[in-house]
Amino acid sequence: MKVHALRSYTIAYLVFLYAPIILLPLFAFNDSKVIAFPLSGFTTTWFITMWKDQSLWTALKNSLVISISVAVFSTTFGLFASRAATRFEFPAKGAALGLIMLPLVLPEMIVAMSMLVVLLAIGVPLSIFTIILGHVLLCTPFSTAILTSAFQSLDQSLEEAAMDLGETPLSTVWLIVLPLVMPGIISSVLICFTISLDEFIMSYFLGGNEPVLSTYIFGQFRFPARVPAIMALGTILVCLSITLLAIAEYFRRRGIAKSGGKDTGGFL
């Protein structure tokens, strides 16, 4: 009896969480401008409308530039931070790592607002660049967390063995460390890319007049006629996100299997 109740609760919970996402493709292919049941017929018009929207392409281009830069920078910073965290002892190590991870728990609104105030005060014009700054701040904790787990499962004597066998510290990094943490790096790049792509608050506050995908979508909701096209765009984005995260998880697991470690759970 008790098991039954728990099971129905779980199902209800999952439906509540994920049903709205299923509505997305439903209305994307619905032949009506009104987002409401009953459905009136199948169409691909909304995808074509979306495709022809020039401002969408501008927003998409901006978003890609931002997300790729953020993925590269955050992962690079995460690499340095996690390497330092797992290999070295230094004064104020706990505090330094705490500060890196802090944006995870700080209200994003507060961070975005304070960044806006500071950037305006020192006279930095709002642009794609300022969005990248904000996103890197948000993504570095994720990257650090993923890569720390990759470095932790790396036995230090592997590096010593490489040096013992005649490799310099630099070539050891190239031949041993990087190949072994590569799955972590790939998974970090993909996750940072995804987070940056659908991030809204930072992009809205720090973007000035530069549209990005998330702010563009938000803006379109003011015009009811454009909503079905947004549904079409959303459908594509959902598929893309799921694919990227699945790839990231695949590499994370492969990395753990490769270095012979035990899976201690990940993002998926």
């Binding site: 036995d155 004597s157 592997l158 010593e160 063995a161 490489a162 040096m163 013992d164 066998l165 005649g166 490799e167 310099t168 510290p169 041993i176 190949p179 072994l180 490769k258 270095s259 012979g260």
Partner: protein, 364 residues
């Protein structure tokens, strides 16, 4: 000692980790072609000392010389030593072949020659035909062999082994001990083994340095170490030793006359007298197997005492008797091999115990 007789030389090596004094003035020489062991409890500094040779650990003062060359400022990758790690450190993303050939990357030989060298190295450690295996599919013993082949292929002057057998089960460990001894004789390279297993050190080594708290307590061949330990600490770590309080009566250049409870007055040869830390009272020590329970009433021994059996510990091939010799306060342990047909005695039995003077070591 001239440097020609020394493959490794430690000259007053000190190592501090902050306030912690890990190595406290190590001075020792390891000879070329020797199987040398660093033996001690965990935390005694034996691994740290080994890592100063490899270059993974800097030293605070003193000098480490390898084949007559001071190693200060020489990074790990330029030292003529190779190491077998406790975790084996097999590169998980490389095959067996790539692991073994890793050190040959900068070797100018042709790739065919290198491949042959890899094959030979694998054959030497008994892994012929394992070239293409993925390294994560190997068992513990096989990993160990790959690590050995990988280190030996570079023909180092010294092979460093950091507790290489501790992760193996007992049977495998004993087998690898024998193989390592044979391998060392075959290649003639100086082996330095770090271990906390006294039996392993006794079985494998030409000489052993016993370390306690960052210092070498005694450096000697296994037999000397066992028979003539230079302090009470050493035999407590290597095997078992009985101790009885002694009173010094007279001493000359050749011998010391002592009164030992239960044994009476005995002359201990000067060779068997060890200086101990001041403040310790004089004690005689002897190994359990140097005493004999005289089963046969007609059996004779150099010296005899009467004793009562207080405890019997049966091992199958051996029996330990804890006996109280008349006139002593503490029981001593006697180990007797269980010869066929001999009965195991019971607790409380009165027995004659035979002993000989030569087995006694006096710590004073």
């Amino acid at each position: 000692m001239s440097t020609k007789d020394a493959m490794i030389e430690f000259r007053d090596v000190h190592k501090y980790y902050g306030d912690y004094h890990a190595l406290r003035g190590i001075t020792a020489t390891i000879r070329p072609g020797e199987f040398f062991s660093l033996l001690g409890p965990s935390g005694c500094g034996k691994t740290t000392l080994l890592r100063t040779i490899a270059g993974f650990e800097g030293i605070s003062s003193g000098a480490v010389l390898v084949d007559g060359r001071d190693m200060s400022g020489v990074p790990a990758h330029k030292r003529p030593t190779n190491m077998v790690f406790q975790s084996y450190a097999i590169f998980p993303h490389l095959s067996v072949e790539e692991n073994v050939g890793f050190g040959l990357r900068k070797d100018p030989r042709s790739s065919a020659d290198k491949a042959r060298a890899v094959g030979e190295a694998l054959e030497m450690v008994g892994l012929k035909g394992y070239c293409k295996r993925a390294s994560h599919a190997l068992s513990g013993g096989q990993r160990q062999r790959v690590a050995l082949a990988r280190a030996l292929i570079l023909k180092p002057k010294v092979l460093l082994l950091d507790e290489p057998l501790s992760a193996l089960d007992k049977k495998m460990r004993e087998q690898m001990q024998m193989e390592l001894i044979k391998l060392q004789r075959q290649v003639g390279i100086t082996f330095i083994l770090v271990t906390h297993d006294q039996e392993e050190a006794l079985v494998m080594s030409d000489r052993i340095a016993v370390m306690f708290e960052g210092e070498i307590a005694q450096l000697a061949d296994p037999e000397t170490l066992y028979r003539r330990p230079n302090s009470r600490k050493v035999p407590n770590f290597i095997g078992t030793m009985n101790f009885l309080p002694a009173k010094i009566l007279q001493e000359s250049a050749r011998a010391v006359e002592v009164d030992v409870a239960g044994f009476g007055r005995v002359n201990v040869d000067a060779q068997q007298v060890m200086a101990c830390a001041s403040g310790e009272s004089a004690t005689v020590g002897f190994r359990p197997e140097t005493l004999t329970v005289l089963f046969d009433p007609s059996a004779k021994s150099e010296r005899e005492s009467m004793a009562t059996i207080e405890e019997v510990i049966y091992f199958g091939d051996m029996t330990y008797y804890d006996v109280r010799i008349d006139g002593t306060g503490t029981p001593v342990r006697i180990s007797m091999s269980n010869v066929f047909g001999r009965q195991v005695l019971d607790i409380g039995a009165r027995v004659r115990v035979g002993w000989s003077l030569g087995a006694l070591v006096l710590f004073r």
